[in-house]
Amino acid sequence: MAHDKLQPQTVLYCGVCGLPPEFCEFGPDFEKCKPWLIKNAPGAYPELTKKAADEAEAKLGDLRLGGEDGADGEASTSKPEDEIVKKLPGGKVKRKEKQEILVEKATRNKRKAITTVKGMELFGVKLGDASKKFGKKFASGSSVVKGPTEKEQIDVQGDFLYDICEFITETWKEIPESAIYVMEDGKRKVPYADA
């Protein structure tokens, strides 16, 4: 083996899920991979190819045209997936008026982070007090900052996204857990109770 130079093997990966074909069955969505597999890697799943052909046969009652029909099915199944993805963003507007606390983490300078707490004043908490408490609890800088649109918010240095939620509910009993929302790097808003 030593004098024979090892040759790299070319490996086929599934065009749908990116796994080697033989592991598609354990992948995120085997069903979606199936058409691709039948077309591109018939060797990996002889049973599947056969089964698919059988299924197609059973469904359509058509004979050997099964392969082409499978391809059509593939095109139509891939569409719904895109729509679901598009629906996710949005839904931010209506929450503004409600009494709620928004905890946000912004990354600054790669590994440094700032945790921002908005909306504490809606619960009648004095921001100065709160900021002092945060600073003490997390042993870091904490200050009241004028946020966008003249609202005041508390900035705490460091990443305390989840710790701070806990701390808020513990210190101010009047703030229900359900009023706290968590947002990470502007990605999405999650009720803390679920997080």
């Binding site: 083996m1 090892l6 490996v11 990116g18 354990f26 992948g27």
Partner: protein, 181 residues
Amino acid sequence: MFKKFTHEEVSGQNQVKSSVQRKIRQSIADQYPLLEPVLDDLLPKKEPLIVAKCQNHLNLVVINNVPLFFNIRDGPYMPTLRLLHQYPTVMKRVRVDRGAIKFVLSGANIMCPGLTSKGGALEDEVDAEQPVAIHAEGKELALAIGMTKMSTGDIAKINKGIGVDNIHYLNDGLWKTLHLD
């Protein structure tokens, strides 16, 4: 380990000194003697070798923006699965039974019974704390790379608990990281 690996976890990429390059090359060659002849193809001397430092004491060896090897806390270098698939013979391997595949692919550590049962096999003698390729019953390609927690002898004897730590598996964060830039 790499379950949620993303670009964000790379805290810095550095082109390393040639002495460090030599060291990395040497330790890879020592760890995987079979890989030595092709090492010049994998890590061409002319291309700048980049080491990306990530969180959790993880280093990635990157060439042409493609991660090829990684190591943890100065531990042994391990190839990424994509590389291992190209050179499947270079690592010692263990095999798990079919029932375990599902769990391994969601990041579970490999328990001894999965290796000692009928579908599993301990094909090579491996000491504890060594990198191994984890193959599966009836499958050709490796599905994960792990670090043995006990020697293969112990795995067969004790037959309980974690036998191999799952470090990198198919479809985890590192697998999905084709390019680093």
